[in-house]
Subunit: 343 residues, 2 copies
């Protein structure tokens, strides 16, 4: 049985949608068991039955706007900190939250703990590929680290490559570096140096730079970015997709009865498009480089996103992603150290 | 008469689409005159009549893939370098090219020359606003500078604010800083410091950070970004918009006769959406901070984009954007120097 520690209080629709999502996941994945951390009065009334599900009462909640590190340190009886601690203590195999992103990252790094040899755990998410051999690709770092050295970007390549290989089942994942041009001399000093480290590596299959314009086109299975521009790129993709759907809707509304009729006929096509683009529903973002699977969903996640994340965790645990990554980094410790000779 | 020096050989569809665009602009803007720099045999046959239009024969062409600075230095008789030089020598008021972006930037900075007091000229473009009081906003730097100091970002605020005010007619333009969170302590050290410089300024109307998810929503008239993540964000927006239109098309095709009929009924709505998103057609990107208007379009620009850029140049010259910016920077030289006390 795989045991997952759930922060039942984190997220805009917590605890209702979290509990609902867990109950869907319980039906769907018979090998999973769930430990829900949350306020007794808020969570207990929502639970239909306690099959493979435990409620661990906690007294505090980390809110969305709180300063992450401070919140983690001060609210020791919060649902998030307690869930992370359950993983650290070996009582659970993985940790899930839809709460304050910064606090999740802090809990992952400081409570669950970094894998030895990993300098900077990173936030990764699967995005859809429209074109290319695979349905989706791994995009990271999405903002765990605002400042990045070339060796950090290089390590993201290793972590992302293992995730794409183990969890998404992609053989020899094609790794690319997000940069502002295809040639190897493009970008600032950090990206130029990172390109050189990646170019010479035997640790993953590096195919060069990719520009943000092409990342959805399927030419990479892992796109490595520094946390600052990775975050901006992800948000630009999300914002543009949302804006376009909104504009399409209002263009339809503005075109009268003819447009309405057209939209009605196109409904199935538009629905499948919306589904493909709604990648937040397809799973959560993963903190890679820590000692156990840690998954966060968008704060606005509904039950189906929560349930899908549980499937993702199941694969991560079954494929022993953390174990494989740890062994690889241990065996290649010398090579990794050599990559750090830099300013 | 406003005289514009045109690089007739730059761009994927040069010289044909460039000449076509200029002839459209000649009909549309009676106060403009054009000096076309290009290869005699290639360009002369394309010109219908020479009213307000001169052909200046050149012998070299800077290709799209060439190393920018080297190309600019070596190809002294190229259409691009000669057009830029015409501006430097006072023979023309503005410079236009659809060619190699790096070479245009180099020509703008090293031949046309920086405005005294501007450390880093920047590349700016108007993007559509879906929401808010104005139709579009200025986004910069889009990649002129891969490395940026806080004082550079601060100067972009001044340059962008003048452009939005003079050329787009926006009063008290609302300036925001692209960052990975709304709070002032978000981002890396560069963005934190830039935020502080902007917060204290009287030189423009600073309203705080904006995230890439919201930049199309009309909460800013000028969005300042470092050149690296500005470039990535712009390309992510373009790539996502293109991908969505492609996906919409194939979703329609895949849904049979019903979908086709729906699409037919929706055609006007879809067309207006496509037009709104095709911001590359609405004008070119501007190099701000140099001694004359310099405009570049996408390499793939067609005649209509070229013609629209001429209108943009006319406004820049008539509103004396460069003169106003120069005077402001001169008058505020001391305050600007004080902003540079930084690492």
């Amino acid at each position: 049985m795989i045991k997952i520690a759930i922060d039942a209080m984190g997220g805009d629709f917590a605890p209702e949608e979290i509990v609902k999502g867990i109950e869907i996941a319980r039906d769907r994945y018979p090998e999973l068991a769930f430990e829900l951390y949350g306020t007794e009065e808020a969570v207990r009334p929502l639970i239909q039955n306690f099959d493979r599900l435990t409620l661990v009462p906690t007294t505090e909640v980390i809110e969305m706007g709180e300063e992450p590190v401070k919140a983690m340190k001060n609210k020791t009886d919060s649902s998030m900190v307690r869930a992370a601690q359950a993983v650290k203590n070996g009582e659970a195999d993985a940790f899930f939250s839809a709460g304050n992103t910064g606090a999740i990252l802090s809990s992952a790094i400081f409570i669950v703990g970094r894998i030895k040899g990993v300098d900077r755990p990173a936030l990764a998410s699967a995005l859809p590929s429209f074109g290319g051999p695979n349905d989706s690709f791994v995009f990271m770092d999405l903002g765990a680290n605002a400042e990045n050295k070339p060796s950090h970007l290089y390590q993201y390549g290793i972590l992302g490559s293992f995730y794409a290989g183990s969890v998404m089942g992609i053989k020899q994942p094609r790794v690319r570096l997000l940069n502002n041009g295809g040639e190897e001399d493009k970008g600032d000093d950090t990206h130029k140096a990172a390109h050189q480290l990646m170019k010479q590596t035997a640790s993953f299959n590096f195919l060069g730079n990719v520009e943000a314009r092409e990342i959805l086109e399927g030419t990479a299975d892992v796109v490595v970015a520094d946390g600052f521009s990775g975050n901006a790129t992800l948000k630009a993709i999300e914002g543009t997709a949302m804006t376009m759907l909104d504009q399409l809707k209002s263009a339809i509304k503005g075109s009268g009865i003819r447009g309405m009729l057209g939209a009605l006929l196109l409904k199935p096509a538009l629905k499948s498009l919306k589904h493909e683009l709604d990648f937040n529903d397809q799973g959560g973002a993963v903190v890679l480089g820590v000692k156990a699977p840690v998954i966060k969903t968008h704060g606005s996640a509904k039950a189906s996103a929560v349930a899908n994340s549980m499937g993702q965790i199941q694969t991560m645990v079954k494929e022993d992603l953390v174990g494989k990554t740890t062994t690889f980094i241990k065996e290649n410790a010398d090579a990794l150290k050599a990559k750090k000779i830099e300013k």
